[in-house]
Each structure stands twice: as structure tokens, then as C-alpha cells.
Amino acid sequence: MSDWTRGSRRDANNSEIENSSYGPSRWSNCRKRGIDGSLRADRGVDGGEKDLHADSSSRHSDKRPESFTTPESTGPVSRCSRQADWGSQVEDDEMRRGVHRDMQRYRRRILGAEVTQRERKTSSGSSGSCDSKEGDNMETDEAVLLRRQKQINYGKNTLAYDRYIKEVPKHMRQSGVHPKTPNKFRKYSRRSWDQQIKLWKVKLHTWDPPAEDGQDNVLDNIEELGLGDVMDIELDFPNLSDSQNAPTTHILSLDGEDCLGTPVKVQKTESTVEPEMSSS
């Protein structure tokens, strides 16, 4: 499992981030921020190429045990892994407060919608949409919300997202056509949520900035569309974790990397880790 931790995008260890140097990844041009969190924008490979958000929302404890299996729990959350550095503590704190504030706003919005629903119901006699029940069925588990927020932050911290929101204002969005951020307050199973995030990010890729090398995008999409597909073609997942070792070559090679466990394990891992591993 050390291969995961070594090459992993998410490094629990700050000093590791600071001390190691990573080459450009295939997704570099889509990444809005470099490893130190500084905006990459139009800069080249300066500032780091791994999408390690400076904020701790990216940080998961990646010291996965040898007997790693798909976690059924909410999984490693940075606040659980005792981030000792003040920078991370403050960011975690900020995210937590943000989530709570969002929760209050959302509740208020839903209550408002419920009232309107009830009024419409009594006047028209028609049955309301599921919105009226949403207040009762809201996700409130802080750990879950934080994890989801982090996943959303990943998607939003991309050039693609920036370009998307500039190009398509909210009122012009068409459902089905335009990507919509999954609603973290709705109750979903873990798998369902992860899948929504994955699909959302795939859709966002449409707004990726033009790559220098056209082949980049093609392979990005292959990766995104189906891990199963990738396994079939025997492309190597490990590349996703050490993509920095493969600058512009698109053959995902396992140079000197040990195999990452059995395909099944890796696949399972992927489905839970995917949000972090995906190219956006």
C-alpha cells in the first residue's frame, strides 16, 4: 500500500508535500491549483502539478493499512487524522463552519418551499413534489457533509468549472445538458453519491481548456467513464496515483511500481477514492 501513499494525490503529511517534487501530470492543464495551492491558471508547470489543494479539504489520512478494504464508514476525514498544523486546522474549521452555515440556509430554503407547497396543495389539490418531504429527509451527518463538500470542492477547483460558470449563467442552465452540482443535503447512499460526483465531473470536462496535446483529453475521458473499462484494457490504475511520473506519455506505465493488490481491490478502492483520483 505504500505505493498508494507515495504516489497518492492526497498526502496527509504536509512535509511530504513540501519536500517532494512532482513532475507535471497529464491533468496539469486542467488543474486550477498547484500543489502548494497557488493558482496555476496560465502558468506552466510552476507551482506544482499535483492537484493537492492547499486547503486540507484534500487531505485524507492516506496511511492505508495493508489489509485495506473499502471503508464502509465515512472514510478518512482530515479532522479525524489530527492535522497538527495550524493552516490545516483553520481550513478544516472554516469548512466545517461553512457546511453548518449552508445547512441552515438550506433548511430555511426548504421550509420556505414547504410552505409554498402546502399552500399550492390546498388550493389546487394536487400532490406536491418530493421537496415537501426534503426537510425531513435531509442529510445532517457532519462527517458525511464534510466529505461531500470536499468532493464538490475538487470539482469546483478546476479551470473547467470556472469556464463553465462564466459561460453558462445559472438561469440558462438546462437540466440534463448542463452539469449540476450534486446536492450534498439529500440522502443518498455512498455509492450513489460517489457516482453522481463522478458523472458531474465527467460532464464538467466539456469545459476543459484546450489541451496542448489532443490525446490528453481522450485518455482523460477513458479514465473517467469507467474504471471497469480501464481494467479491461489493462491500463494501470496506479498511474492515477503517480501520474506525475508520466508527463506527456499516455501509456500508463507501472515503472518500477509494484502491483497494487488485486484488480478487484483496486477497483473497489477506486470507486471510493475516485473523487480524489479523477482528473479534475
Binding site: L39, D85, W86, E94, N157
Partner: protein, 225 residues
């Protein structure tokens, strides 16, 4: 039109650095924010005047960066630098009392200005208390030079952030004030000035972080004259 950068007291920096700071305030993503944060922290440790207000410039840069690109590079680096210095504070104090006092001033100032959703940064609460308590320990009150520096710093910070600190952690404020009372009562050879400062802060807190009118007159009217 008011020149906002005057408020940040950056005149003590060389011109190039002043330029860097001014740019950081307006266009954070165009500068190396790690460098900017280091520059600010370094200067705060050297320049007491700057350390007293450095929190403000930090706040502005943090806001500007967040607004511009939702980033937090500056804040993260600044806080981690602060943490580094905090870890080595005994060594710093042993090496240079002046630097130590500047550090405490700076970290308190940061605590004051840099809020997260209008709440103080939880991560800084204990460190700030650790610093203030350190200033009130018997060994900090032993010789005249130490006393003046330490007590001056201590009372200034308590005036500024005492109330906030107490709100987020009252037991530690009690701990601090036990030491202050001890210092006031038991420390031999304490100058009358030092005793005055300590007495005032004791009354200040006892009054709910407010001096009564008469107390204010007692402590401050002479200065006014």
C-alpha cells in the same frame, strides 16, 4: 483620498518589499504569497511597531486572496510559520526577549484580526494563552528590563483581546490571572510601574473588561495631563 497602505505601517520595509506588499493587497494571485507571508512574519519579529498592527495587513491579504480565487495560500503559510516559531519559542525567548515579545504581539494581533466566519481561530486559542501565560510567569518578572517588556506586552494584549479570549476559554484566563495576582503580590522588587500595570489589568478584567469611570480616571488622567 486616504492611502490605505499607510494604515499598515509598512514604511519600515525597503521600497521593493513595500511594492510587493502593495501588490499583494490588490492582486494576490500575481505575487508569491509564500514569500509575502514570510516577509511579514520576519518583519513582525523584528519591528515592534509593525507587529502591533501586522494582523491588519494579513487580514486584508487573506480576504483579497479568498475573493480573487478562493485561495488560502497566504493564510496557510503564515499560520504554519507562526506555528514553527511557536514550537521554538523558548529558544527564541532565550535568544532575544525583544523578538519573543514581538512574536507574542504579532500572534495576538493575528488572533484579533483573522477571524473565520467572524469567529476567532480555534487553532490559535491555546497557543495565545500559552504565550500570555509565559509572559506572566515568575521568571519573566524578575529583572527590570524583562518586566517592563513582558508586562507591557501582556497588558496591551489583554486590553485588545482579553474579552474575546475569555469567551472562548475561560478556565485558561483564570489560570493567567492567578499568575498575575501572584506576580502583583509576591514578586519582589517589582517596580511601581509594573505594579500599576498589573493592578490596572486586574481591575479591568474584574470590571468585565471595562474600567469604571473612576478607575479610568485614576489610571489615565495623569497621562492626559
Amino acid at each position: 483620498m486616504e492611502n490605505p497602505t499607510d494604515d499598515y505601517k509598512i514604511q519600515s520595509f525597503d521600497l521593493d518589499t513595500q511594492m510587493l506588499l502593495k501588490t499583494a493587497l490588490k492582486d494576490p494571485s500575481s505575487v508569491n504569497l509564500v514569500k509575502v507571508s514570510n516577509v511579514i512574519v520576519d518583519q513582525s519579529l523584528k519591528d515592534q511597531v509593525f507587529s502591533k498592527e501586522a494582523g491588519r495587513i494579513c487580514y486584508t491579504i487573506v480576504q483579497a486572496e479568498a475573493k480573487q480565487n478562493n485561495g488560502s495560500v497566504f493564510r496557510r503559510n503564515m499560520l504554519n510559520r507562526l506555528q514553527q516559531e511557536f514550537k521554538n519559542r523558548e529558544e527564541m525567548r532565550g535568544r532575544s526577549l525583544q523578538e519573543w515579545v514581538c512574536y507574542v504581539t504579532f500572534i495576538c494581533n493575528v488572533f484579533d484580526y483573522l477571524k473565520v466566519n467572524n469567529m476567532p481561530m480555534v487553532a490559535l486559542v491555546h497557543p495565545v494563552y500559552d504565550c500570555l501565560i509565559r509572559l506572566a510567569k515568575p521568571d519573566a518578572l524578575m529583572n527590570e528590563e524583562e518586566v517592563r517588556k513582558n508586562v507591557d506586552c501582556l497588558v496591551l494584549q489583554l486590553h485588545r483581546i482579553g474579552e474575546q479570549l475569555e469567551k472562548v476559554n475561560s478556565p485558561r484566563m483564570d489560570e493567567l490571572f492567578f499568575l498575575l495576582r501572584d506576580g502583583f503580590l509576591l514578586q519582589e522588587g517589582l517596580s511601581s510601574m509594573a505594579r500599576l500595570l498589573l493592578l490596572e489589568i486586574l481591575e479591568f478584567r474584574a470590571g468585565g473588561w471595562l474600567l469604571s469611570g473612576t478607575a479610568h480616571k485614576y489610571y489615565y488622567s495623569e497621562i492626559a495631563d
